[in-house]
C-alpha cells in the first residue's frame, strides 16, 4: 500500500503526541512571527491570560442571620457622589458605572459621541483621553471628566474650565510605567492638528509628566489645577495597579478628591503585548490594597475610589463595590457594547484574518465596527445614536445586576455591600481579596 502525503495523520498518531504546556501553539507562532518580523507585537485590548479575578468570589446572600430586600419593591440606591473632599462642585452619578478615559484618535469621533450618548441616558460620566477634548464629546457628554496626561496633547485651560472633573493620569493598568501610543495609520489630519504633530507619524507619548515628578510635586500640580478652576472641580488621580497601597496613600497625601485605580486587565488602544501581559497586578488584589490604604488614613469614602480593569458584568461591579470601591469604570466592555467584535461583522473580520471574539487589533486603524479607526469609510458605519443606546442598555443591565446582588445581601444602597458579604473560591483569590476561602474562616496571610 502506498503512503498518501495529503491524508491527515491517523488519530492514534496525533493522540500519541503531547502538546507542550510551555511551548503551546500560540507561543510557537509568536516565536516564528518575531523571527520573521524582528519587531515586538503591538496590539489593543487588555491582558488575555487567566488571572485571579472577581469570578473567583461569590456573594453569601441573606439567610437567617441577614434578611434580603424585595427585588422589585424595596429601594436599592445606586447614586454616587464624587469629589466631596475639596471640590466646590462635586459630581453625582445615577449609577456606579462610569466610562473610562479613551482618546479621540484611538477611537473615532462617532464612537466618542456614542459613549457620551450612552452615558447621558443613564446619568453617568465619560472621560476624555490622550489628545484632548472634542466638541462632539463635550456636547454629547453631560458629565465629562477631562484628563491631564503626560503628553498634554490638546491640553487647554478653556477645556479644563469646561470639564466637570479633572483626572491627572499617572498610569493605566495595561501599561503602568508606559506612555500612550498611536500608530501612524490613525494620525489623520484632525488627530494630527489636535495633538500638534505631523500627520501619519507613529506617536509615542511621554510616560512621565513634563513638569512634575513624585508626590510632593503632584500636590503642587493639583493645587495649580484647583487654582486655575477656582477650586470648583473634583480632581481625580488615575494610577495603574502596581505598588497600590503606597500609591493610594501618596494620592491622598497629594490632595486627590478621587483615585482611579486601573488593574492589569484594563484595556488599551495600542501597547506592546509583553507590557500588557507582564506589568502590573490584577484588579482583585489592587482593590483590597487601595481600600486598606484609604482606611489606614481614615479617608475611605472621603476620597472616593473608582476601580477599572476587567469589569464586564454586574457581578464584577457588585464585587468591586463590596470590596470598598465607590464606583467602577468600563472601557473594553463599553466598546464591545457599541458593537466591537460583533458576530454580524464575521465576514469583515474573516477578510482581516480574524473572527468575532478574537479581534484585538485596535491599534491598526482598520475596524469594521467603526470604533477604533479614523477612516471615514469605516467610522461612518457606526451610528452614534444606535450605538449609544446599546451602551445605555448595557449600563442599565450592569446597574440592575448590581442592585440584584445588593438586595440579595439585604443592602438598600450599593455602597452598603461589604467584604463580609463575600467568600473566595480559590486560595489565591482569598489571599488577594482578603476575604475568607468559602467554607472556612481562613484568609491566607491573615492568620
Amino acid at each position: 500500500m502506498s503512503h498518501d502525503d495529503t491524508a491527515p495523520p491517523r488519530l492514534d498518531a496525533v493522540w500519541g503526541q503531547r502538546e507542550s504546556h510551555l511551548f503551546d501553539r500560540h507561543t510557537i507562532h509568536e516565536i516564528h512571527r518575531a523571527a520573521r518580523e524582528g519587531m515586538y507585537r503591538i496590539r489593543g485590548f487588555g491582558a488575555k491570560r487567566r488571572l485571579p479575578h472577581f469570578d473567583d468570589l461569590v456573594f453569601l446572600g441573606a439567610s437567617i442571620s441577614r434578611y434580603p430586600l424585595e427585588g422589585y419593591r424595596e429601594k436599592c440606591d445606586t447614586t454616587v457622589t464624587l469629589g466631596t473632599r475639596y471640590a466646590r462642585k462635586p459630581i453625582t452619578l445615577q449609577t456606579p458605572v462610569t466610562i473610562a478615559g479613551m482618546s479621540f484618535g484611538s477611537l473615532s469621533g462617532p464612537a466618542k459621541e456614542a459613549l457620551g450618548r450612552g452615558a447621558n441616558e443613564v446619568g453617568t460620566s465619560t472621560t476624555t483621553g490622550d489628545g484632548g477634548m472634542t466638541d462632539e464629546e463635550r456636547t454629547h457628554s453631560k458629565t465629562l471628566v477631562y484628563q491631564v496626561l503626560p503628553s498634554r496633547y490638546g491640553m487647554n485651560p478653556r477645556h479644563l474650565r469646561m470639564a466637570d472633573a479633572i483626572e491627572v493620569v499617572v498610569g493605566q493598568g495595561a501599561k503602568p510605567g508606559g506612555g500612550g501610543m498611536l500608530l501612524g495609520q490613525k494620525i489623520s489630519d484632525r488627530v494630527a492638528e489636535m495633538r500638534t504633530l505631523p500627520k501619519g507619524i507613529d506617536q509615542r507619548s511621554a510616560c512621565r509628566h513634563p513638569d512634575w515628578t513624585g508626590p510632593d510635586d503632584l500636590a503642587i500640580k493639583i493645587q495649580e489645577l484647583r487654582e486655575i478652576t477656582d477650586w470648583e472641580k473634583p480632581i481625580y488621580v488615575k494610577i495603574g495597579a502596581t505598588r497600590t497601597y503606597y500609591d493610594v496613600m501618596l494620592c491622598v497625601k497629594a490632595g486627590a478628591d478621587v483615585i482611579v485605580l486601573d488593574g492589569m486587565q484594563g484595556g488599551t488602544g495600542a501597547t506592546q503585548d509583553v507590557f500588557i501581559e507582564h506589568v502590573g497586578i490584577p484588579t482583585l488584589p489592587a482593590v483590597r490594597q487601595a481600600v486598606e490604604a484609604l482606611q489606614e488614613l481614615d479617608m475611605h469614602r472621603t476620597v472616593q475610589l473608582i476601580v477599572s480593569g476587567g469589569i464586564r458584568t454586574g457581578a464584577d461591579v457588585a464585587k468591586a463595590l463590596a470590596m470598598g470601591a465607590d464606583a467602577v469604570a468600563i472601557g473594553s466592555a463599553a466598546l464591545i457594547a457599541l458593537g466591537d467584535n460583533h458576530p454580524s461583522l464575521a465576514d469583515a473580520y474573516r477578510r482581516m484574518g480574524t473572527v468575532p471574539g478574537l479581534f484585538e487589533d485596535w491599534q491598526a486603524g482598520n475596524d469594521p465596527a467603526g470604533i477604533t479607526t479614523q477612516d471615514p469609510d469605516q467610522y461612518t458605519r457606526l451610528d452614534p445614536a444606535v450605538a449609544g443606546h446599546r451602551l445605555a442598555n448595557y449600563l442599565r443591565v450592569l446597574t440592575l445586576e448590581t442592585q440584584t446582588l445588593a438586595r440579595a445581601c439585604g443592602k438598600s444602597h450599593v455602597h452598603n455591600m461589604e467584604p463580609e458579604d463575600l467568600r473566595a473560591l480559590t486560595v489565591e483569590a482569598a489571599a488577594m481579596a482578603g476575604v475568607p476561602l468559602a467554607g472556612t474562616d481562613w484568609i491566607p496571610g491573615r492568620m
Partner: protein, 228 residues
Amino acid sequence: MQTVDLDAVPLRDLNARLHDPAQVGRIADWRVLHPKGRHNIAVGLDAPVTVRIDGHVGYYCAGMNQHATVEVSGHAGVGLAENMMSGRVVVHGNASQSAGATAHGGLLVIHGDAAARCAISLKGADIVVRGSVGPMSAFMAQAGRLLVCGDAGDGLGDSLYEAVLYVAGRVKGLGADCVEQPMEDADRASVAELLAAAGLDDVDPAGFRRYGSARELYTFKIENVGAY
C-alpha cells in the same frame, strides 16, 4: 494699579480676583508683593492684564496663561508658564526645570538661565533665554521656537518633532534625532524677530545656529533601535 500683598491676602483670593471678569475688566495693572517663592501665583489668567510680581516665585507661576503679561522680578521655580496659550511671561532672574513646558503659544522670556528640560514638549510658543539652558531642553518639542543666547546642556532637542531651536553658544550634545541645520534667511529673520520681541537689543543676531529634527525616528523602525 491694584497692589496685592501675599503676606496679607491668601493666594486663592489673588487668583480668584485675577480670574474675575469684573475685576480684570476694570483694573489692567496689578502688582504682587511678597511672593516669597509661593507656588501657583497668577495661574490660569485669561485677560489682557499686566501682573508684576516683586520677588521670587515657586512652581507653575503663570501656568496656562492666556492673554496676560506676567513679569517676575526675581527667580522662578519649576514649570514656569507651563502650557501657556498666549500672552507674555518675563522672568528677570533664573528659571528652574521645565520652563515653558508644553506651551502652545505666547512668548516666554527668561533673562537669566533656565534649568533642565526648558521647552519640554513645546507645542507652539516662543521661548527666549538670555543665559543658558540645562540638559534635555526641548525634549519631544513639537512646535514653536526656543532661542538660547548662551549655551545648551546635553541632549538638546532629544526626540524633537517640528520645533526649531536657535543657540548662540556651545551645545554640549544633541539628543536623538536632533541635528544642526543650515541657517536660512527665514531663520535669521526669526532670530531677529525673537530678540526684538524679547527686548534683547544687546545680543548679536548673527551668531546663532539652528537645530531641528532629522525626522529619522518619526516612524518606529527596528533598524533605529540603537538610536534610543
